[in-house]
Subunit: 135 residues, 2 copies
DNA sequence: GTAATTGCAAATAATTTGCTGGGTG
DNA sequence: CACCCAGCAAATTATTTGCAATTAC
């Protein structure tokens, strides 16, 4: 069975900060806010709890599933599938929904320059491996 | 006027590598490939040229527009708008297209667990600032 | 009580930058 | 032949981790 998780005041505080803001803060910003309530909290603890909360499904982390950038030789917009098992990024053959950008512009008053759509999951190659061998 | 960009054999090589692969490599992988043709190329040069090529619109960089993660207290899927001027991330009020995931699963044979859709551009607050004052 | 979690600081990992000499236009 | 750009290595930035002390359950 998976390890039992405890609710500490540090974890509780971090979750409250995230739940009570509509901005999408960085770890460092959360750290600054948390210090107002818990002056001795450390940045390492903030990072550790953010990872725990993400793994528990309480919060979302917004990145490309990894700490480093990937580059694409095709500069025209297209969509991607990211395999969470092997880390591969695949192109997805699905028509680009450019009309969406107009809709969002009208909704928000912003100027939309481009959009990105990524699907996350397990690619077919990894699915086959999982069924076949344990490793 | 903007600076003139030169075409060096390093830049040329990096672009060829990116154009001739369907994978979405990291800077480090590109560096390894480039060294096969130019053994003395440095990792710093790879990074510099990737940034130049991205700014020229020749390639795409896949990340969230910044080097650090952002966190979202709402774990339910929803879409985001990222302002390229001020860096703010906003929630977008647009219905989540869950049926897309099925479509992609059938197309690719992968298991799709979730998807993300982000719009990039200039937010309304920054648009107003730009029109008003130069800074 | 005891094992998970903290604070601290040092370690990693990814990317950027300063400097000087070399190559492009 | 001027100036941009490469190589090298050191600097930055974001994040993770080892360890001894602390705390939640």
């Amino acid at each position: 069975m998976p390890k039992a998780k405890r609710m500490t005041k540090q974890k509780q505080t971090i979750l409250e900060i995230l739940r009570s803001t509509t901005c999408h803060p960085t770890a460092d910003w959360i750290y600054e806010q948390a210090r107002k309530k818990l002056p001795d909290i450390s940045l390492g603890t903030v990072y550790r709890n953010l990872n725990v909360l993400r793994d528990e499904g309480e919060i979302m982390e917004l990145n490309y599933g990894s700490t480093f950038s990937r580059f694409d030789g095709n500069p025209r917009n297209h969509y991607h599938f990211v395999c969470e098992s092997c880390g591969q990024v695949y192109d997805v053959d699905y028509p680009v929904q450019n009309q969406l950008e107009k809709v969002i512009e009208e909704k928000t008053g912003a100027r939309v320059q481009y959009h990105r759509l990524e699907f996350y999951g397990i690619c077919s190659a990894c699915l086959e491996n999982k069924d076949g061998q344990p490793s």
